[in-house]
């Protein structure tokens, strides 16, 4: 096994924390991601990562945990995006784009201040690329609590959420309030994005949200199966990514490890490619 798992992997407490936190985050991203893909809200998810990034940068500037900044900014940004947006797809897209642009500008400004203040060394790195190996153990309970709350909220609203995602008019006729449901979901989405930003960084967290979900949706038939598949694919990607990143330290004589985020996204790309091949093969079989 030496060639596969480099020495110290299992005994290292930092790795243990990373594996647990990574798995928790992947479960949330998988479950939320399936709904994001079904609702066609990948773009909103991506905009939220930019908003979260601004929050994370702001948090580092004032010395708070990035997760807190990711969360606050995401919920506020997502809420205002949903409140400003209308049911017309094009207006919603424009509102999302405006928020995205503003957030990216703010992030750049805040990160500039962060990187020029000596007290916050490494913050820019962890906001952009995640901090699963350097996360302070005190953040883990908060992360797990946010994850549990997010999953519970998603589970409670799942049926009206699905109905209004499939057809808002049908849902409204039945007495569902699509705007209220949309707002609830965007908060769930913001929390999920914040969690994945913590692990693989804000830049790549859309990949963890959408990648495993879209792969699972290609393979599974129903929504339940797709959700389980997305969770499995996400957990596999994060855990394999952490392992690969750890191992990569030993790959070159220079001992420079590949960041976790890059490894995780690499695994996700492989999963997406495999699912595409699989569904093409199924289509050919008929």
């Amino acid at each position: 096994m030496h060639w596969l798992v480099e020495p110290g992997f299992w005994s290292n407490p930092v790795v243990g924390t990373a594996l647990v936190l990574g798995a928790v985050v992947a479960v949330v991203s998988g479950a939320v991601g399936v709904v994001v893909v079904v609702r066609g809200q990948s773009f909103a998810g991506h905009a939220l990562t930019d908003v979260a990034m601004a929050g994370g940068a702001g948090a580092s500037l004032v010395g708070a945990a990035p997760l807190v900044g990711f969360l606050l900014a995401g919920v506020l940004g997502g809420g205002s995006m949903e409140a400003a947006g209308t049911e017309r797809v094009r207006d919603r897209d424009v509102a999302t784009g405006v928020v995205l642009g503003a957030a990216a500008g703010l992030t750049a400004l805040l990160l500039y201040f962060v990187s020029s203040s000596s007290s916050a060394t490494g913050s820019t790195q962890s906001v952009l690329f995640g901090s699963v190996f350097t996360v302070s153990p005190s953040v883990v309970p908060l992360g797990v609590a946010v994850a549990a709350g997010t999953l519970a909220a998603l589970f409670v609203v799942r049926r009206p959420l699905l109905l209004s995602s499939l057809n808002p008019e049908l849902a409204a006729a039945r007495g569902v309030r699509p705007r209220a449901i949309g707002l609830a979901f965007v908060v769930v989405l913001a929390a999920s994005v914040a969690l994945s930003a913590l692990v693989i960084g804000a830049i790549l967290s859309t990949a963890l949200l959408v990648g495993p979900a879209s792969a699972a949706l290609r393979v599974a038939r129903g929504l339940g199966g797709a959700t389980l598949g997305a969770i499995a694919a996400g957990v596999a990607a994060v855990e394999l990514g952490i392992l690969a990143s750890y191992d990569s330290f030993y790959w070159s004589s220079a001992h420079r490890s590949v960041p976790v985020s890059a490894c995780v996204v690499g695994v996700i790309l492989v999963e997406v490619a495999l699912s595409a091949l699989w569904s093409r093969a199924r289509a050919r079989r008929g």
């Binding site: 609203v157 049926r159 109905l163 008019e169 006729a173 949706l217 038939r221 129903g222 929504l223």
Partner: protein, 274 residues
């Protein structure tokens, strides 16, 4: 424009009472008044843009009225009432990952929040509705993978699943070929008798509906005329509704409604009966 009272033996499920609707500053429906009785099959007939969709949405509480009121099952109409709805032109994307049976189940419990799993009662109801619409074979398929006609049938099952008192169908026949049109009407006729649900179906052609309809609501110029086919599809009634002369002709045993003066290049046969 008024309407005949309900046949004596029917209890009322919906009363549209002197409803007016304005859209974008224009009055689209004006003084619309009619009732539909329990288990009735009613055709809502009018050309494109005559206000069929607007009227159905007003009954559902999706469209605000500027005057008048809608009473559904004795109570003011509101969203979430005992009304099933099949909107016009719903098409699910090819990759929508929801099974037919799950989508139909959302017709029963799609508004419910909570942690509870889907109960046996819901699953049994879904099976029964799928069977009565001849959809059992599709239960495990993804809705996105079905043809347009199949999707529409699934939407009917979804709308019926919650045992509504009234089923509103907006142009469900528009994209079907003639054999499918007759099949769909026959299935709906059977289901409304079995379930005791009133059906209001909008269409721009009256012909295929004549054998099953109890009454017709004809909609034009923002108003309605209603009654049996024989009462409504007559030159005087339709001319009054349109506000200009309309001919109702019988050609080879079929009734043809011709709008406009003779020799008018815009004149076109509009409605065909029998």
């Amino acid at each position: 424009m008024g309407c005949e009272p309900l046949p004596e033996d029917r209890r009322e499920v919906v009363h549209v009472h002197r409803v007016e609707v304005a859209l974008g500053g224009r009055t689209v429906l004006h003084d619309v008044d009619f009732r539909v009785g329990e288990g009735e099959f009613v055709g809502l007939i009018g050309t494109n843009g005559s206000g069929k969709t607007t009227l159905l949405r007003a009954i559902l509480g999706l469209q605000a009225t500027t005057a008048g009121e809608v009473i559904v099952a004795g109570r003011p109409g509101r969203r979430g009432g005992p009304v099933g709805y099949v909107p016009q032109r719903v098409a699910f994307d090819h990759d929508v990952p929801v099974r037919v049976a799950d989508f139909v189940a959302l017709g029963v419990d799609g508004t419910r929040l909570g942690l509870a799993r889907r109960g046996r009662g819901v699953r049994e109801r879904v099976e029964a509705v799928l069977a009565s619409l001849e959809l059992s074979a599709l239960a495990g398929r993804r809705i996105g993978a079905l043809s347009g006609g199949e999707q529409q049938r699934v939407l009917m099952a979804h709308a019926l699943a919650s045992r509504p008192r009234l089923l509103l169908l907006d142009e469900p026949l528009a994209n079907l070929d003639l054999p499918r049109v007759h099949e769909t009407i026959a299935v709906l006729d059977r289901v409304r008798r079995a379930e005791g649900v009133a059906v209001v179906l909008s269409a721009h052609e009256i012909g295929p509906l004549v054998p099953v309809m109890d009454r017709v609501i004809y909609i034009a110029q923002g108003g309605v005329a209603c009654g049996t086919t024989e009462e409504v599809v007559r030159a005087e009634v339709l001319s009054a509704l349109y506000g200009h002369h309309v001919d109702v002709l019988t050609v080879h045993g079929r009734v043809v409604v011709v709008e406009g003066e003779a020799g008018d290049p815009g004149a076109h046969p509009e409605v065909v009966v029998r």
